[in-house]
Amino acid sequence: MIEVDQAAQAGPRVAAGPGGRFGRLGEVRHLGLVAALVLLAIVGLVTRPENFATSSNLVSILALASTIGVITVGMTFVIIGGGIDLSVGALMALASVWATTLATQSYGPIVMIVCAVLVGTGAGLLNGILIAYGRMVPFIATLAMMVAGRGLAQRMSNQRTQLVQPDNSLIVDLSTTRLLGLPLLVYVFALVVLIGWVVLNRTTFGRRTYAVGGNPEAARLAGIDVRKHTLMLYALSGLCCGIAAVLIMARTTTGSSTHGDLYELDAIAAVIIGGTLLSGGRGTIIGSILGLLIFTVITNLFILNGLNTADQLVAKGAIIVIAVLLQRRSLRTHT
């Protein structure tokens, strides 16, 4: 039965080729990513046997991944839905600054969290309005938002770093308090990934996201309000930025207009390495998170091995290429 499928799939319709590799084969599609991760882990074990596999190092990797991880979940939705969001880093900065102004801080930590999330979502909504109703190209609309968001964050903070006040240390506890050995923010990250996965795979909203990204015309004809859906995708991404802002406040104890610099690039790269098409319609949360972990582990290895910047960059470029080629190979072998 399996052979039959494969035969049909390798079919002459060249355009349909890539289509076949997704779907039924389940998690095999992530095999290349997992292989790359395992390879990196082996490198870690060989070069730094005493440090790499310690629990504290693994915790450190997860904590590092958490902030961008949350953003990556939102980015996965946006890209599957056929868009792109360059403003994520800036929105995170803006939300962190807004939540740490003295005025906001005077209301206590809960209000700060609500503020960060609302600011992120609101800015995401604005992105969505520009794109869905203003009919702007996502790249440009979110680029404008990225530029303006950073500017606003700078104005609001007067280009200063804003400390989380001691009475609001509840926020900082997210990073310092541990549950079963893991800082709370790792749980937040895990929760966001889980919810993201459920929404994408088990709700009508998630499934419609594939339709909106894969064939917007078909989605429209099926009665889906493509514009509203698009709007919601960007709001969702903004929401994730708001949550990420809370995490970065916890980790750095500050709000700052410099937070999240170039996160957009990292998040997009993670999503794409994870197998999501930049053109939309396909992709998985798990792939994105694996992609992100690869980047994080690379960074961690570099830190452990004390490479200098220049060598790190060269090595990182090479590793990306190797990881991707590995993934391709596994895809070709297994379908």
Partner: protein
């Protein structure tokens, strides 16, 4: 519908169309390529808003745009172009936009059950609801589209060429479903280029020409075919295949193409034949028998072992560039995916493969755009591409006219060998006759032609020699005059047994002669998908002297 007008930039696609559909009837819509059928349908389904005119439902005017409004009024549509989402499963596609859900969580079990039921009703219980649609064949995709229309409990179902990607017995299935629907009082609007289908299923006919209604409410059963064709085309098309040169004429001519032992494991094996200058060789076979792949392998678009000799020179495979340089041309099967730059002008689509003809000096690659446009204009006129403006983006042409642009590409340059894969898909009656004449003229000028067509009459009428392909092998070769339709049908299915209870029925079984390494047949066989792509009773129409155009390709527009 009354006085509907729809204007596109530069074209008046609909210019005062009236249409009246009664409950419980099958109303057929006929018209040439570009007559405006699909546009009219899109207005009914809410995809376009009309510029003028009104739509009345039960006597009161309604607004149908956006599509949700039309759905709200009980109108469901099967569009001409496939409108499925490749990344989603079959059941997700069927219920897209109206998923069974609780609190936003999709109830996949329920959706899958309902989808399985709908697919079973269409006679395709073997399509699994969880399969990803991107993995389905075009025929199965069409079934999914139909299941989707049925999933709305509609009062009016519109079908824009639903039989395009279907084989004969699947059409029978479809008709069973349609009768079922109409007996419950559901109205059906049915579009097809196959007149015999109209006769079988239709109650009344409306004919469109150039965006206007030219006939309303004709009886589908009683109106003579000639009259309908005349209404559609505005003239009496005496449809004939161009005369063949005598059988011995080719004998003395040199071989243009020789294929020896061409093999692509799992797809086709040991394909050998030759084409002489001036000869048209037809490949007949079932859907999935591998004809397109053979042609693509000859062209170098896919790698296969074996030898291809063009004009005495061996063609090293694996490069279309080399094939084109050596004098081949391929008009592929799926124009939208494989041939056209939809956003580019017709002219640039036509000249794409022959650009170096308009360069001077050649090494610089400088384009003489005037010469290019002039040549494109000439070809567009020769092919009667409408509207006759080579600077229009191809996307805005109707399906049939797009197909002509694909053919035009290879007429622009002197070729030694043309590979035509379903060249007349979606081309209307009049233009088709001209195309046949054109192909024959090219052959007479000394070009070799390989013609793949799922229409047996077309292969028999146009080709000099016919190769019958079954399960990736050539099983028979004969001059076209020595064959008739029934003989060909027998040949393509000679080893067929009735497979277990599947409606798709005549699947190609595991032929005894098949070697162990060959999986093509197994694939087709066990999936029950190798179905007959031709209309076995279209021969009965021959008396009218009109060839029934095959329905339009699945990847139209």
């Amino acid at each position: 519908m009354r006085g509907i007008v729809k204007q596109f930039p530069g074209v008046r696609a609909l210019d005062g169309v009236d249409l009246e559909v009664r409950a419980g009837e099958v109303h057929c819509l006929l018209g040439q390529n570009g007559a405006g059928k699909s546009t009219l349908i899109k207005i009914l389904s809410g995809a376009h808003a009309p510029d003028e005119g009104e739509v009345l439902l039960d006597g009161s005017p309604v607004r149908l745009a956006p599509p949700t409004a039309a759905m709200g009024h009980g109108i469901a549509t099967i569009y001409q172009e496939l409108d499925l989402v490749d990344g989603l499963s079959v059941s997700e596609n069927i219920f897209l936009g109206h998923e069974p859900a609780r609190l936003g969580f999709s109830r996949r079990g329920e959706a899958d059950r309902a989808a399985a039921q709908l697919l079973g009703r269409l006679g395709h219980g073997e399509i699994r609801p969880r399969t990803e649609v991107g993995r389905l064949s075009p025929a199965h995709k069409q079934i999914v589209s139909m299941a989707r229309a049925l999933s709305h409990s509609a009062r009016l179902i519109i079908m824009d060429e639903p039989s395009a990607a279907l084989a004969h017995d699947e059409v029978a299935n479809l008709f069973r479903v349609i009768r079922d629907l109409t007996s419950q009082g559901v109205a059906v609007i049915y579009i097809s280029h196959r007149l015999e289908e109209i006769r079988e299923i239709g109650d009344r006919v409306t004919v469109l020409k150039d965006g206007r209604t030219v006939a309303v409410g004709l009886s589908a059963k009683d109106t003579p075919t000639g009259q309908i064709v005349a209404l559609m085309t505005g003239r009496n098309v005496e449809y004939v295949f161009p005369p063949r040169p005598g059988r011995d004429v080719h004998e003395g001519r040199p071989e243009v193409l020789r294929v020896e032992g061409l093999t692509l494991p799992g797809r086709f094996a040991d394909v050998s034949f030759s084409v002489r200058a001036g000869e048209i060789v037809g490949l007949a076979g079932l859907v999935g028998s591998g004809r397109s792949e053979i042609v693509e392998a000859i062209y170098g678009a896919r790698r296969a072992s074996g030898r291809v000799v063009l004009d005495g020179r061996v063609v090293r495979g694996g490069s279309t560039t080399r094939a084109v340089r050596m004098g081949m041309g391929l008009a592929p099967e799926e124009r939208k995916a494989q041939a056209l730059l939809l956003d580019h002008p017709v002219a640039q689509n036509i000249t794409l493969a022959s650009l170096s003809r308009y360069t001077r000096p050649r090494w610089l690659g400088w384009l003489d755009r005037r010469a290019e446009l002039a040549e494109a204009t000439r070809l567009a006129q020769a092919l009667d591409i409408r509207p006759p403006d080579p600077r229009r983006p191809v996307r805005t042409l109707s399906g049939g006219n797009q197909q002509k642009a694909v053919l035009g590409r290879w007429l622009a340059e002197d070729r030694k060998l043309l590979l035509l894969d379903e060249p007349t898909r979606g081309v209307d009656v009049g233009a088709r006759a001209e195309l046949y004449a054109l192909v024959r003229r090219l052959a007479d000028d000394g070009i070799g032609v390989v013609l793949v067509s799922s229409e047996v009459p077309e292969v028999l009428g146009l080709a000099d020699r016919v190769l019958v392909v079954r399960e990736g092998r050539i099983v028979h070769e004969a001059p076209a005059e020595d064959l008739d339709e029934h003989r060909v049908l027998d040949l393509v299915m000679v080893s067929t047994e009735q497979t277990t209870g599947q409606a798709a029925g005549r699947s190609a079984g595991q032929a005894a002669e098949q070697s162990a390494g060959q999986t093509a047949g197994q694939a087709a066989g066990s999936d029950g998908e190798a179905t007959l792509a031709t209309d076995s009773d279209s021969g009965s129409d021959a008396g009218s002297g009109v060839a029934i155009p095959p329905s339009e390709g699945a990847f139209d527009d």
